[in-house]
Subunit: 287 residues, 3 copies
């Protein structure tokens, strides 16, 4: 049984503003099992955006913590065998406790060992899968993944793969110049269909900051902990990132100052800025 | 036998200024066994403040390095089983060599496995225990710890727990809006009594930067390596942090720019700034 | 057989400018097996400078990835036993596939266990060895290493040790106020001789940022992936760092703002800035 109810409609600006208000009001505890490159930046992103990070990722504690966390992020950036064991335990505990969780399949498709781990975790039905286009295509088994961690594919090309992944989860996104966010929409599981929401804006400097995609995955988990449905949570996190990165770019002189200003901007984003700047482009997803 | 002599009086402004001068003159080597979130920021904090960091935390090297380090920090933020083994070895070696060490019991009280590790390490008599109020209360076994890593308790409420922990160490602090620092004071071990020094100032942005508390623990270790007593060392580190965070807040626009300016300010703090801005509020500790 | 051809002459300004143009044009994929302190900053340095980082360092994936990476960095900053196993596998695979790789022997000389690991890796013939003076001297077995990770030796004193290390590799550098870069130069392996290129400039703030030396090692790997010879690649990375750190210092207020501006500057460095600011001081190396 999914942790969150089915989305009854495509995410709206009002729904995203409401999710943001909930995030700030409830400051959800997010358990992150993530890679060594991202840990510090991810925690700072969660703190700046309004959540509470906890990087509990050892096998001794991962399951126990997943029961009390608001949501769980599983990121495959630099997996060790102990961490993979922790991921299995955390996911199992999250599912048993009805906690939502995010799978971020970094590098899946290009690396066979972690590809198998990602496929195994996918079968445990994450609430959300988030990745770049190459990773979404690779995880769905619809193409060869890129050997690196930077996507060489356009997110639009990942839509069929995202639809495929929706068999296992409630919502999927492929990050890129225009983010492509897909989720189930309907009044009941029987009548639900996959829908696509494209989200524009953002900054070309964001992918110049390492682990920015990873940190987005963690923010998705934070929104899952406070949102009414997974599709809205995923869209709200993308919008929060896009608006903040636009604000940060305005004052930055390059990728280093951008990263600092981005944290400032994640904190500064409020309902008014979301309403002024969010670029939501809803479409019907192909089936 | 403790690594440092007993404090003969409550820490004074003159004593803190002298400790800061020693830090800058001697640039102590600090061995950090710490969590993955904090490692980079902690090393930068030590470098900016005037110490020399070394993150030697594998079982093969931890004990050997503890013998030559000026002081050792043990932080339980994201412990792996190998790292816990390294902590045991480093603490044993530090004690044997008469080197001071700090225990930072992140998450102890809220997580049973690491709580047991923290309790075991506490029995090895750290020079100092530093944590937030929830962690100090949790480690002393005087209450339920919070599930997360942000303290929900006022440091004043942690004073009885800190007094309890003083059975095992020379000084204890609970960080918060007003830091509560406790230590033994007397002319001899028989006549010594626990005393409280509250330290004000600081910035509300500091807890918005992940691992800022962890980095404070490392700076405590740096001061232990150069101070005349553990109570003064612990107080000097808190003052250095409070003054620097005030300076940083003045120029910052949010948590991201604050973090960069905080490193600048740790470097800029000198005797004059300490004398102008340190807020020392001595009190008699309750027994 | 070395991954790159022998340098026919000392690196020149034209050659360094050409290597920089190749870096920007080809954006090489760099596999980093590195320490926990450096991972985030190193990845950001590579992204800012114009390369693509991938921190693949587990035993399951390290060898497979080394075959497709443009170059490999092996950094001994905080080695775990699993990571050392990964290093062995990655180096073996890189050698078999003719991929260049860098050995950064952090702390070698001061710590026996990792010193033995470093010596073992050295026997696998890295393309380049990069370290501070203490590490170069320690790895060559020509003196006692310092216990810490900050060099207490002048790079000029490391020249004999660097010449010794050239038995195992194509180029060696010792970082310091004036970087000392050595490499084989000649028309054939039989007639080649070790030559020295000193590189000035830079900023005293750079060593106040943790992992700046580690990140330089990763940038060396990036340049190895696109350069005509290892000596030029190593020199180009040093020049890129020196010019960027000068630019960063001009706008900085301390080590924190410097670190952010340094990333901006790595991005901003172009052919014109290199030609204006590079300080190349060629000399004949002693034999």
């Amino acid at each position: 049984m999914p942790a969150l109810p089915l989305a009854k409609r495509l995410p709206t600006l009002d729904g995203i503003v409401a999710a943001h208000a909930e995030l700030r009001a409830r400051r959800p505890l997010v358990q992150c099992l993530t890679n060594v490159v991202s840990a510090n930046f991810m925690a700072n992103v969660l703190l700046a955006a309004g959540a509470s990070p906890a990087m509990v990722d050892n096998p001794e504690e991962a399951a126990g913590f997943a029961k009390v966390a608001g949501a769980v992020l599983v990121n495959l950036g630099t997996p060790t065998s102990a961490q993979v064991e922790s991921m299995r335990l955390a996911v199992q505990a999250a599912n048993a406790a009805g906690r939502p969780w995010v799978l971020d399949p970094i590098g899946a498709g290009g690396l066979p060992w972690r590809g198998a781990v990602a496929a195994e975790l996918l079968r445990q039905n994450p609430s959300v899968v988030r990745g770049n286009a190459s990773e979404i295509i690779g995880l769905a088994g619809l193409g060869e993944g890129a050997p690196g961690f930077d996507s060489s594919d356009d997110p639009a090309q990942a839509v069929p793969a995202a639809v495929e992944l929706l068999r296992q989860c409630q919502a999927v996104s492929a990050s890129g110049p225009v983010d492509h966010v897909l989720g189930w929409v309907g009044d009941s599981a029987d009548s639900a269909v996959p829908r696509l929401l494209r989200i524009g804006g953002g900054s070309a400097l964001l992918p110049r900051v390492t682990a920015s995609g990873c940190a987005l995955g963690a923010l998705v988990a934070a929104y899952l902990a406070v949102s009414e449905d997974a599709f809205t949570a995923l869209s709200a996190a993308h919008v929060h990132f896009a608006v903040a990165s636009e604000l940060a770019e305005e004052g930055s002189r390059g990728p280093g100052t951008f990263a600092a200003l981005f944290l400032d901007a994640l904190d500064a984003v409020d309902a008014e800025l979301i309403r002024q700047r969010a670029q939501l482009m809803p479409e019907q997803a192909g089936a």
